[in-house]
Symmetry: C2
Subunit: 370 residues, 2 copies
Amino acid sequence: MTPFSTRLTVDLGERSYPIEIGAGTLGGLGARMKRLGVGGRRVFVVSDTNVAPLYAAEATRSLQEAGYTATFMAIRAGEESKSLETLEGLYVFLLDGGVSRSNAIVALGGGVVGDLAGFAAATILRGIDFVQVPTTLVSMVDSSVGGKTGINHAKGKNLIGAFWQPRLVLADTDSLRTLPRGELVSGMGEVIKHGVIRDAAYFEFLEKDIDRILALEPEAIGRVVEGSCRIKAAVVAADERETAGVREHLNFGHTIGHALESVAGYGSFRHGEAVAIGMVAAGRLALRRALWPQADQDRLERLIERAGLPVRIPRALAQNSAALLQAMRIDKKVRDGALRFVLPERIGAVRIAGDITDKEVRSALEEAAA
Amino acid sequence: MTPFSTRLTVDLGERSYPIEIGAGTLGGLGARMKRLGVGGRRVFVVSDTNVAPLYAAEATRSLQEAGYTATFMAIRAGEESKSLETLEGLYVFLLDGGVSRSNAIVALGGGVVGDLAGFAAATILRGIDFVQVPTTLVSMVDSSVGGKTGINHAKGKNLIGAFWQPRLVLADTDSLRTLPRGELVSGMGEVIKHGVIRDAAYFEFLEKDIDRILALEPEAIGRVVEGSCRIKAAVVAADERETAGVREHLNFGHTIGHALESVAGYGSFRHGEAVAIGMVAAGRLALRRALWPQADQDRLERLIERAGLPVRIPRALAQNSAALLQAMRIDKKVRDGALRFVLPERIGAVRIAGDITDKEVRSALEEAAA
């Protein structure tokens, strides 16, 4: 049997790029980059201390076989590395390596590596080529596609960054086999989100095949990456810089999710866990306004639970609604003071609500508490 | 007599923006921004410790009269402020002020303020609106137009940055009256460069009116800002991201100029002084290849001298050719190892030479030494 593989395009005019998805594609990284004319002669590979021992050798060998000089650096694994300090370390790595405008950075790892290395690519020499090689589910289905790059600040996540599109995204689904179970499950948060915001059929496929997906049955997991990337690519193509109100739909579950991550401290929740709870809470907001049916809320919560994700906010955290509301206000989705939420209408469709009161948020937090 | 004023446009499709030039235009800043729909309700003004005492009150008043809430910060004057550390301070200023994506940053000052505040605008919340209010000659005729923003690194100038176009450039030529003489003279380096690379008639105007220009006779200095901005705007419109080989012409005098600044230590030369010497040395390279006439080299050196700028490299520095060559190699204009220079062909035209040897550079440095 031929291993599952497929190819999508993110359609952004002169900034369009392919997404290559499949089992065992990592060995073709160098050849694919060469065909696209990316990187000149030299490529800087950025990975982290978890992923490097597993995949750096294969990635580097593939680049060298294609004729590139490949230089390698591993950052410390973890969200703490999305910092100005680690970024400065990357700048030194690139400049010590004699980086020129024709070179490229390859991000080999999860969202932290992709966001950080992408922001370095966006800002070194005012911008060089960039390739995403996501090795986690959340980065394959979400962060590697769409060009959002950046780092965190003490005041909140992703407050510093740039829109900088990759030239290629290459997702080798085989790399999910070495992913810790909790990280795989976390990725399902974004996957479920994609179904809710855009595609009822995709949501039904998830409901039907969740067990095969979590077992990493190759075609099932391949279809998940393909389906989510297709949705993400369409949203990004319609609204590259989040100015048209379309891309904002991807924030479903994220307003409360980010606040949970921020108040509990980065690392207390996995991103997908925080998003899962955030979706449940946003669903509660929509329920209270009679915007969407109880039956759909039940389906959402049921799928989240079957994926192994939480549906309840730890009570102590839910009771700290003042801190959570403050964190939502500093979040960049807040415009001139008004709290904005993405609320579900039905499985497959969401809308923006710009007039959510603090009282409604407090009630939803209370209802979603454990 | 009506004060001199004029308006140009930088033509970049949806990123096009006006340049307003004139005596006494600062008081109209807020109204012009409002007409362009820039900044939402809140504007963050970034200036420095030299310029703030002179013009911050007028700028802030103009913004408030137009209905903006204006928040103000002054960085320490000087090239040392183009650092990650000062940038981090700007991020805190913006985030403490509750910056949202609809807000704008106004850079009120010279090139350091514009480059730094522009890079902050490019990277806070992945990019917000930005207005340039240049108060020095070099920033009026060069750095405020074209969207180059960034900071320095220990390894060289402007190695970290982004292309981020302003929404408006407003140059009040009255502010040049408070500029130290040496800074005014420094600005003439870029002005003379514009004549050499693109416009023989403009160069002749400079030869004819240099004394009235340096005396800040309003129409003469207004025509200088207008003429240089027109040339810069045309070059930028043809090659926004320096990928088409056109914008590279603006680097005339800068390959050696940047190396001089780097090796002598930032602050030893004013930028325009280093560029002036760099143009003389690039002219020597062209002379040695018989690419341009001795008569034009003489006109170039004569105009530079009449403007009060240096034409010779201090001997001790010229003799350190190894360090200068190394600095040229780290400079971002070097692609995969080859030294590239912009060489003059005649007053009004330049070409790229990608095959300059170290030996030629050493000879040119020697000839240009004091």
